[in-house]
Symmetry: D2
Subunit: 370 residues, 4 copies
């Protein structure tokens, strides 16, 4: 049995002065594998990742570990506990509206000087020095004048500080009502086949504030900047956002399956000795982020969702009925919606009540088999 340690990190204080803490679990490997960082529940309603971390811990304590592990459930102690009616209003800071997963720190600014200082370094030196730089950069913000940090930044930077120490970063999310899908940087596409996830979104190098981007963009930028100097340096970090299915649900059986999916990927990344975790034999599809289309409701009304999640939809087939009962006599009360492209329905809105312009669906278009 591997030993697991727990630390509770302090990430803020609330109005009655009580501390906001996040539990951090750690397992040590034999020193020959990568460092793996996995967090869950940055968005308050997206709880299933906690169950996946539970199932991972149950497995990891029995495996022969090469890798070190840092696992962080309940990554957002505000979002996680923010109720509004029965549901959890945890997607954005309730005070400011800022998405909790858009507050990580951009490290772009540190690259030019770093490159100038490492034109003659070897890859291993670069890797260690850059990691140290990333952590220092975060520390400067965390240790700078306290009045310069927002609530969300304080949470995000503390987590990012942990993530920067890892070679592999998995941020466990869910959609609203959703099939499984994976946000994967294009360079890591070959690794995507090792997850048991049917739908893979390929994303370019662009920082929008999310943890996966905060983890891989600096290394990708570094690789590009060194290449511009004629130096070949492979991107040293894999980072993914793993969308586990629907929010507001705990399913321990599904969590076990998803833990095995992660163990399969980590086996591929040589995190274990003697692991037999293999990817499932499933059809996988990839789609570029530019072809991931949001479909906003063209009408206000009550929605019957018709497109099966993960289902391949032909252009022009019905995807939803919109019921508008206050127009029963004045116009047709039922409007059938279609989408004008062949698509895979990945997720839909969590409620049946929508305004005109509410995001109804997100679709893979121009997808191909992976």
């Amino acid at each position: 049995m591997n030993s697991i340690s727990q630390e509770n990190i302090l990430v803020g204080e609330i109005a009655n002065g009580l501390p906001l803490t996040i539990p951090v679990y750690r397992l040590k490997g034999d020193g020959t594998g990568p460092h793996v960082y996995i967090q869950a529940n940055m968005h308050g309603a997206e709880v299933q990742g906690n169950a996946v971390i539970y199932q991972l811990l149950e497995q990891l304590k029995q495996l022969d570990l090469k890798a070190d592990f840092t696992l962080v459930p309940y990554a957002n102690p505000i979002g996680c506990n923010q109720k509004s009616g029965e549901f959890t209003l945890g997607r954005f800071d309730p005070i400011t509206g800022t998405n909790w997963n858009r507050m990580y720190l951009d490290a772009t600014s540190i690259i030019p000087e770093f490159v100038r200082n490492h034109l003659t370094s070897d890859a291993s030196t670069i890797k260690h020095a850059f990691r140290e730089q990333l952590i220092t950069h975060i520390d400067q913000k965390l240790n700078g004048p306290a009045y310069q940090l927002t609530t969300g930044q304080r949470i995000a930077y503390n987590l990012q500080r942990l993530a920067h120490q890892a070679d592999i970063v998995l941020d466990l999310h869910t959609g609203p009502i959703s099939s499984k899908h994976l946000y994967c940087p294009t360079y890591a596409k070959p690794s995507a086949r090792f997850f048991n996830i049917e739908h893979v979104l390929l994303i370019d190098n662009g920082f929008g504030g999310a943890l996966d981007e905060a983890s891989f963009c600096p290394w990708w930028d570094l690789s590009d900047a060194l290449k511009a100097q004629g130096i070949n340096f492979d991107i040293a970090v894999d980072a993914f956002t793993v969308e586990l299915g629907s929010q507001e649900k705990i399913d321990l059986t599904a969590a076990k399956y998803d833990a095995q999916s992660i163990l399969s990927y980590l086996t591929h990344k040589e995190a274990f000795n003697n692991s037999h975790h293999q990817p499932a034999k499933i059809a996988r599809y990839s789609c570029h982020l530019n072809d991931y289309i949001a479909y906003y409701s063209p009408l206000g009304g009550m929605v019957e969702y018709l497109a099966p999640l993960g289902g391949h939809i032909k252009a022009g087939t019905p995807i939803a009925n919109i019921l508008r009962m206050e127009r029963y006599l004045s116009e047709a009360p039922l409007h059938q919606l279609t989408f004008d492209k062949d698509a895979i329905a990945i997720l839909h809105f969590a409620s049946a009540s929508v305004n005109q312009g509410t995001e109804l669906y997100k679709f893979f278009t121009n997808y191909s088999a992976l």
Copy 2:
């Protein structure tokens, strides 16, 4: 084809001065049947009743009507449009917290004088005069000083004014995540068999502010008060709260089934000529409201719900797992919950995240076959 008329009644104004209106649909029968009032969506997230009214209208326009019908979808124009995150926060007035279905007017006060004035009247006179009194009582409030009415009362009283004109009142609701069930006054128990609803809650004469109570309590009180004077007077109104299943969902197929269930009941109440709608052959169970037990979470945590809705649960069998990932090392991370009584699980909370004390389940106990 029967003709349907629409009226939009004014029930309030919002901050930018725009009117709050509710659509009211009416069909006229041949004058020999009861007057039927059906409303839906008083709680904003409980939208499926609108779909049932849609399916009812589709049927009613083709049936041979004895009864008059008043159908009111979107009964609450504030609750229906109150979003908080993706979900609809429509169970209570967002300003005051008052449950929208606890604001109807109590008519108890009019009974003593009415009885004194009708000690020698016949049943038909009593029925007509009391109905008129109920409507007058509401009108006095609606036409009294404008500063004496809350937002919710204005909506509720306008609806109650319509309901008081009917002999049969159905208020279509849903639970959070729920099986179908029916709130039925004990005197109407024989009628409950004509709905296709497995679970029937029997309620006594007690006014708590809901529409079903506001509709039947005055007639029940009147019947009791007349009986105390030695006069036999049957309770002249049937009123039910029909819980259609889960909130935040539109399912037109299920709505058609539930419309047929209502048509079966209304056939029994002689609302139609030549209707062949019959109740489905299903097992039905009844439970007294006093035996309808709320089970509040004994722990804060993330919930995996295990009890199947409508399922018959043996005392002591697991009903939920509570995951507490911040106690992975310090205590067991998974707590199995049980209930100490044999029960039918009727509904559970809509979210997987609960505080200690959040209502997890509601159970029928001491139930019997109906």
Copy 3:
């Protein structure tokens, strides 16, 4: 310097498993005075009471105490931290809508048996035994099956358990935008003059779920029940809800003034040796709760409040302008509101945007000098 002790009591757990605690401060007197219980901030936005407790502690540590003191700031660790936009949404449980100050336990049921058992007891025995009974009654609920307690009850009962140990209970609240006022049971009217509070609401014996009522109603009921048996027993507990002014504000200077007001009342109640705290010489007005009139907005719109808080308003004088800019051409854009009674404006709504039926003002009517 008197010594102050602190205990943090556990009143619940939130979704990420973290404990909800409330700080309790205690000071011991010389054993010859009453036991005083003061809490603040049960409603999340009503924070000024915390500052009053701060100022009280600053004073109490220097006074010569006869009384024992229990002081509880931050009485509601959920409400206190519940943000929705910039403001604190702490008046009701965000899940259920239940007002946090309507969840205390009703002790009515214990009285008949208690009276039967104490028909021959002396007053001191009755007082001690009844206090013990009240605490036992609460303990039975707190120690009963965990699944029977709501989140709010768990908080309320834990506080009530502390309050029942006291002879004097002060629950510090604020209005929305408000002048100071005091909820005072009619029997304690003579004591009301010792607070520096201009406006006093006299309330009868009726339990609605609030802490003041939960504290005095059982003793009042007991006194009445004993009187019915021919036994004279003075109501042994004083309990008040103290409305300190407006919510969402901390003002340490005002808090010091209000602490002195409380010290003046407590001096009158012989809580100190050698205290010179005297009530301020101000005009005081009392009004019976039945004459405390809510004025709901007769129109939806934007409100300019005109009635000065604490101001004596003549019937028919303007109390507000309602601006309705979408009717600039179709009708007058500005509506002047009046109230049809002479009144003192005690509080008004916290926002300028109101629906038709939003509570605009609360007025003392039929008031008299105290």
Copy 4:
């Protein structure tokens, strides 16, 4: 008396199918002045602009108009009516968290081709053609596939379509608790002196999604792009965000003063014949946006705000007390906050309860007399 016309534009539909409309008021001048567009209340709680539009209309109908006017109160029919507790939660879309004033359309993309096509046009032709292009660009979005527009974009683009027709655009906002201030593009600095607003924020050419930027950036970009081609073209549009003071307040007297401030500016812009409106003689200060510093709370707690709004604060003087009553014994319960720069306090947070990291204040630093 000038005639005023009203049109209600349709900008969306809500869940019960009812239309979202915005009232638009228009006055025609003699054709020799600029076209002026003024809107208010895009953020739901920032209502005072509606009162300013009211006072403007009262004046404009009596003035001798050169300019045409388009005035839009209640610009956001969702935000304006979104209550959460007593306050208005109208700063962001309650579903997505997106700030309502960050959804306007970026026109940058149309500039390169436009410049290529107008290298030989005269200034007047350029102005007219570019305005037409801007409107066409918006129309393409509004008339494109309905499923491509979010709720907020539909509102914003409809307003922007009106604003693009104007030479002068004023977007009336307020701060939380705030002194008056003006967001002014640097090129329009001389005009800032004609408003009766003490504090002026100078902003560069950068599009972040707000209406003022959406109005001036395209013209500024165009001017720059033409200059790069050696063509001199003055920026043809003035656009300002006018921050009128505090949210959640209607004050008709203050509104009249602010209407006069706008009339003074518009007199300067030759909107009237024979207008005598002159700017007030007040001290004005300007500060570059980069020097406008947000001060986030270094602690969670209850805040007593000490810095007077509009007050000139010396570095190191107290700006707030943070009360932390759960640490009364374990550390000092009162923490005094200071800011390390000389500053003018422009606004502070609307509530006394703050998390660590909540924005407490915004300060002008490095300001100078205007």
